[in-house]
């Protein structure tokens, strides 16, 4: 297990945002995390990444205990994340954004900068080369490098955020709604990117509303509702799970969208009725 959560709780006053969630993320897998709005998905991410403190429960990244650590330490341990509402360093260039992501593994050059030690010029060149390689690996051309992050199109900003997260050389990458607000072709591109990163050996925890994306790309999916985990298993198990269908609102629509999501996967055959539905009416965000 790469990430292991054990009975993690976080309450805000009387609101049980995360209420005793246990979750295992296997090394090299893509773990999905779904649930209706307000189910506690983002809170769970914030708890894992140290933005919100645990109230009880434990979490480990392999053998490293995460509970009680501040966010920057957890990032240093190798959990990188993106944000639901993109948080780039907007007035810096795309390249600078990625370079800042290398902060943790960059040698402290304060004295060198003051001229008392030889300047690590080689390091600098190396980092810039790495940064361009990272931009390329998320599908951004190198011409994007000198552009300010705020001027990039929406889809590219999402990709840049992923490149910045990858600059940490994370063990686990948490994507918080990476496809939110994207059009179908951008979503397809994002899906391919996620699969490619995973094929390179990166473990990914994917949170999204888009059933088609989550069901299509993940090997295991956990479902949260009102802070509790109500199901965990393969996409097929989860989408046919009676509690999930009952609890996760809007029965007809939701069920249909789950079925068509399965039909979208290569080998799983969907029931005839669902497959006849138009795809555009079924994806729910």
């Amino acid at each position: 297990m790469l990430l292991r959560l054990d009975d993690v709780r976080r309450h805000f006053g009387g609101v049980h945002a995360v209420d005793g969630v246990s979750l295992d993320v296997e090394q090299g897998s893509i773990q999905g995390l779904i649930g209706p709005n307000g189910a506690g998905k983002t809170t769970l991410v914030n708890v894992i990444t140290g933005y919100t403190r645990f109230q009880s429960g434990q979490a480990w990244l392999e053998s490293d205990e995460l509970s009680g650590l501040p966010a920057h330490r957890i990032a240093g341990l190798g959990i990188a994340r993106t944000f639901q509402n993109i948080r780039l360093f907007k007035d810096l260039t795309a390249l600078e954004n990625v370079l800042i992501g290398m902060h943790v593994r960059r040698r402290d050059d304060t004295l060198a900068q003051l001229g008392t030690l030889p300047v690590f010029r080689g390091d600098e060149q190396e980092r810039i080369k790495d940064a361009y390689a990272l931009l390329e690996s998320v599908g951004l051309p190198s011409s994007v490098g000198p552009r300010h992050a705020a001027t990039l199109p929406y889809g590219d900003q999402r990709r840049l955020e992923i490149a910045r997260a990858l600059a940490l050389r994370p063990r686990l990458l948490i994507l918080d709604e990476p496809a939110a607000g994207m059009n179908p072709s951008e979503k397809q591109g994002m899906r391919e990117l996620i699969e490619r990163l995973n094929a390179d050996g990166l473990t990914i925890l994917l949170i999204d509303h888009d059933m088609r994306l989550v069901m299509g790309v993940c090997r295991r999916v956990a479902v949260l509702n009102f802070g509790k985990k109500i199901a965990d298993g393969t996409p097929k198990e989860v989408s046919t799970d009676p509690t999930v269908i009952k609890r996760c609102a809007a029965p007809r629509e939701r069920r249909a969208s789950m079925r068509s999501a399965r039909s979208n996967r290569p080998r799983a055959r969907a029931p005839r009725r669902a497959s006849r539905r138009r795809p555009s009416s079924t994806s729910r965000t």
């Binding site: 360093f89 907007k90 370079l99 800042i100 992501g101 600098e124």
Partner: protein, 305 residues
């Protein structure tokens, strides 16, 4: 106009007749650099006059009572300001934006009204008289200015500087990149305290008199220092120094305006803010109005060498 004519026609005479002005520009430049540091790391801190007061009073009091050498006095003053910076920073740096500004103003006013004007040893409202000494010489001030600007410029190019940029842009995103936000903000705050107190100590030795007035160590001074930084531009170390130069020279630039000088100077400042919101030294270089055919400067990596 005479002022600028003399600058070019008779530089030596200009130097001799305006030594005090040149020194003041140098000192304002150093303080502006201290302001730059906090703004560069995303903190709207107006504490600089407080640290200047610590620098001025500590060094002058040591000289008056213990007759210790000036270099030691200044060193002790700077270290003391660093310690005070740490103690003030611990509670205050949790605040952001306007709230930080108000808290630091609170520090400045508490120091001036609560300590300086209340403790007999500081001379209270009368200030301190002392003998000026060679440290007040222009060369030392100008050399200090160059060194401070150089050090801060190099720091902004290194790992520290890239962390500060990240924090300025988005603290939450900076955390997700493994940057210890609280530590780097504290480093910037303490460094700016050290620089401000150094400037304060130099300034005290420039004059024969340490004046506890509002325009020296109070909010008025804080606003003036902020004006240096905003006018000059905070993207680049040299910006606030240029801002300090221009603001200090305003009375000479608008000499011809006579009684209307304050109005004209105010209009000038407003015009700069409107037409050049990134400051006079913005990312696009020194030009206030750039012709369309002028090559745009390309954005570069945060730490070229």
């Amino acid at each position: 106009m005479d002022f600028f004519i003399q600058l070019f026609s008779d530089p030596i005479g200009f130097w001799n007749s305006h030594t005090l002005l040149i020194s003041q520009i140098g000192i304002n430049g150093i303080v502006a650099t201290s302001m730059f540091l906090v703004l560069y790391s995303g903190q709207l801190s107006l504490a600089a006059p407080g640290f200047m007061a610590i620098g001025a009073y500590t060094s002058v009091l040591m000289e008056l009572y213990w007759h210790t050498p000036v270099v030691l006095n200044v060193a002790v003053a700077v270290i003391l300001a660093g310690i005070v910076g740490l103690l003030v920073g611990l509670p205050v740096l949790r605040l952001r934006g306007v709230f930080l500004a108000i808290a630091t103003i609170g520090f400045v006013e508490a120091l001036r009204l609560g300590v300086i004007l209340n403790v007999p040893i500081t001379g209270e409202g009368l200030g301190l008289q002392h003998e000026a000494d060679p440290l007040g010489g222009v060369p030392i001030i100008l050399v200090s200015l160059v060194m401070v600007v150089f050090v801060v410029w190099r720091l902004t190019k290194g790992r520290l500087g890239s962390a500060w940029s990240a924090i300025r842009q988005d603290e939450i995103a900076a955390l997700s990149q493994g940057i210890h936000v609280a530590r780097y903000k504290m480093i910037a705050f303490i460094l700016s305290a050290l620089i401000a107190s150094y400037a304060g100590a130099l300034e005290a030795h420039l004059n024969f008199f340490v004046d506890p007035g509002d325009s020296q160590y109070g909010v008025t001074r804080a606003v003036q220092i902020l004006t240096f930084a905003v006018l000059g531009g905070t993207g680049f170390v040299i910006g606030p120094v240029v801002g300090a130069l221009i603001v200090t020279l305003l009375p000479y630039i608008f000499e011809g305006a006579g009684d209307y000088i304050n109005i004209i100077a105010g209009i000038f400042l407003i015009a700069v803010i409107i037409f050049r919101p990134q400051g006079i030294v913005g990312r696009g270089g020194l030009a206030i109005v750039r012709p369309a055919w002028w090559p745009r400067s390309r954005a570069r990596a945060p730490s070229p060498g």
